[in-house]
Symmetry: D2
Subunit: 272 residues, 4 copies
Amino acid sequence: MSARGAKAGPMVDVQSMKDERRVPIKKVGVKGVRYPITVLDRANTIQHTTATVNLYVDLPHDFKGTHMSRFIEVFNDHRRDLSMPRFLAMLDELRSSLDAETAYCDLHFSYFIEKTAPVSGQKSMMSYECSYEGSSSGSEREFWVTVQVPVQTVCPCSKAISDYGAHNQRGLVRARVKLGPFFWIEDLVSIVESSASCDVYTLLKRDDEKFVTERAFDRPMFVEDVVREVYTRLLAEGSFPKFSVEAENFESIHNHSAYALVEYDSAANQPG
Amino acid sequence: MSARGAKAGPMVDVQSMKDERRVPIKKVGVKGVRYPITVLDRANTIQHTTATVNLYVDLPHDFKGTHMSRFIEVFNDHRRDLSMPRFLAMLDELRSSLDAETAYCDLHFSYFIEKTAPVSGQKSMMSYECSYEGSSSGSEREFWVTVQVPVQTVCPCSKAISDYGAHNQRGLVRARVKLGPFFWIEDLVSIVESSASCDVYTLLKRDDEKFVTERAFDRPMFVEDVVREVYTRLLAEGSFPKFSVEAENFESIHNHSAYALVEYDSAANQPG
Amino acid sequence: MSARGAKAGPMVDVQSMKDERRVPIKKVGVKGVRYPITVLDRANTIQHTTATVNLYVDLPHDFKGTHMSRFIEVFNDHRRDLSMPRFLAMLDELRSSLDAETAYCDLHFSYFIEKTAPVSGQKSMMSYECSYEGSSSGSEREFWVTVQVPVQTVCPCSKAISDYGAHNQRGLVRARVKLGPFFWIEDLVSIVESSASCDVYTLLKRDDEKFVTERAFDRPMFVEDVVREVYTRLLAEGSFPKFSVEAENFESIHNHSAYALVEYDSAANQPG
Amino acid sequence: MSARGAKAGPMVDVQSMKDERRVPIKKVGVKGVRYPITVLDRANTIQHTTATVNLYVDLPHDFKGTHMSRFIEVFNDHRRDLSMPRFLAMLDELRSSLDAETAYCDLHFSYFIEKTAPVSGQKSMMSYECSYEGSSSGSEREFWVTVQVPVQTVCPCSKAISDYGAHNQRGLVRARVKLGPFFWIEDLVSIVESSASCDVYTLLKRDDEKFVTERAFDRPMFVEDVVREVYTRLLAEGSFPKFSVEAENFESIHNHSAYALVEYDSAANQPG
């Protein structure tokens, strides 16, 4: 087909042309779209935040291309209600609009929770980077939620071998769970925050600082301990068929991180 | 155990203590270590570059922690020769030093190739972000290489429907291959660069700029086309048991990317 | 003073202790605080978005430290109304709360504007990274606004020397203006978007794609042209006592950027 | 001028055409070029590393554009010897090649120093992000060096008010100095590392960990203390006509940083 010919008549639809290479495409779509969205919030019903969105579908081997603008059209229609059920409905609509077998979305956003300092009771907002990842292919749907929770960790080795003090640092715990029944991001955050040496805060007065220093010092934990604690609590929760937990410590004595990862799959044999 | 007690006698080895939670850890180690390394270079025998390194092992459920310093000791010993065979030897040594079932390493580095402008013949250095990912667990070893190759793409749709011009942009192609027999990074880069509308250069004189503008305009390609071209050529190469190819276009008409992904696994049924 | 002694009585205020080194501190405070905020929006009155905030004050040479928690207290009180006048009021309160000569704030946020595709009329949201930078030191106040606007540029050289086509790419224009009278972010964005080869969109249908391709091809511009266009229009606006304009092209034929910067200061001698 | 006409005869030089807008450009050039370079190293004479480079010149108001390829040609010729004197020679050549009043370069690179653990004596490499910034405009030349040094800080307030423990964290100190006589990056790093609660290491055995934990606990410091210490030592050095020092603590009890900045200018009145 010549481009020249196209310009005389109605516009050619290059994407819908045949492809002969016999290579199916697993995912094709738009990546890195920045958008304002609204998600569910336990304390305030809804929360306005900002997201980075990736939207994909599969493409059979005999089609040349997908229609990129439709991803934005569908997402734009749903951005004001991205509660978990509506997120999956958006994926179904994407699949249908793009005439695809499977539709995928990764949605990364900051989620804010008002937090109360442990002694002074002062309130401030904490930010948690979260993501929804979902796919829909007809009867099969998957939905995963990830929360990244900053925490404090005190090193058990440093505490044990030193005459005083113990090195400690900020860490980041990433819990990624496959959804069974509905649950709140707030609950997932709470499980992680109570599984480290201490949780972190945006606003602490002096009384609070004494409290978190001593609390953390009383509960020294390696990254290994943190992922095991979160694992044990997520397993006890009983609602997640699969999950993984990563902990990364931004070591205060090194210029690199300590890292640990555990994974759970209810379908696999679990050690024990 | 009390930290106080530890301080009187020889130092306690907290990491080697027993853990009762019955949670095995899939990966534990150091992440984000910056290091100078030496890799193989086809033109110059060796190449000095800088890397970001992650090193992990698995940890059985009954041990409290791993010994983080040993990762650095082993890597430091190998940093001057990280050719592919030596990379795997480093993993074996890590496994043995940490007394682990499996050792893992991700090594991310910039790889530089001197490139010649197509008409003027002027030479300059091009940088390609690469990574080695490997694991060793006794008889089983895996080794993957990823190269990220910047390219230019001209949009076939824009060219076909417009009376003149066509939007084009820089794209980034990520080819990740599982290693069979040895091959050169240079060859993988070359396959990708010849599979886009045109390759990109650090240094182009005016004659070169005319050449690459016209060459790209003559070969319009979607992200779908790019991943299919690279797929077809990697398959024809015949040496990679598994691979994936991603293409991302930093669209010049949008503030987001177009993206496509294909995957190949020789063990799976391939469509055809 | 001994730390032990502190624990018996009321808590010691280490920050308020004297410092003998005779080194005044220009800025001290909190950096990288993530917060949900509300700013003014021309179309919708208010806009909810997310910000990264830095808050500083100066510290006289004879004080040991500042009181970090007060920064968060003051900012938290103002986060629901960060219109420009309220932003300066927040700085005044910071200055007073920290007992400082000068208070500073940098506030970085995504600002969203609904944009209409040029032919199809379809609507979608565009994101612009913006920042407020302000300082207050009694009678003197400074307020700067920066907007980062993605655009498309077609290379005039490539178009002139090639038999067909012309390389083009996404660029990013950063306009930073010192505030005189009030103005809307929307107006600043509009000045920049009309000063490039073409503006970019989140959602374009085929008719739109033809339009933007041809429009851009008709208006080839170097980074030098873009910064001069924006400069000329900002100067004509007459309301900004100082400003700078940067343009960066993510070159489609290179793996690096082309860059240009112009600066204007009404107090300096302007060439002409 | 018509692009068509250009194609018949010799290639048109669009950049050299006249511009009528009367807007001089302060900086124009290439940004974000990734290159392998060689710098001076006190222990090993030379060090191979990788850099990100920005190269600019000014452009008089009556020229349409600069010639971007020449920046790469000049830099490519100098990349194997970017010692400080050669860096300035490169700038002079850039100025002359581009026929400019002033040439600028920012060169960002990782610099590696072999470091010895304090008790075990084990050796490993530490990475420090550094930059050279220079300008040359005929008789006037400026040369600035920046080093970013990771350190550990123990909070004096937390230590003073808590019954045991004290929160501590990794911090990053950025010292930027204007060059007088030649000095080694190693010396600048050393000044910073000895000005914090403790320096950080890539490799520490248990004996070392005890040492750094206790040493840090014995020397609690705020960001305010760190910048004042470095300031005092740089001033005592006597060789830097201007400098600034920033310290940023990645607070272990917060999800944001504490930050401080001091500046020195020998030409200004210094407090005292």
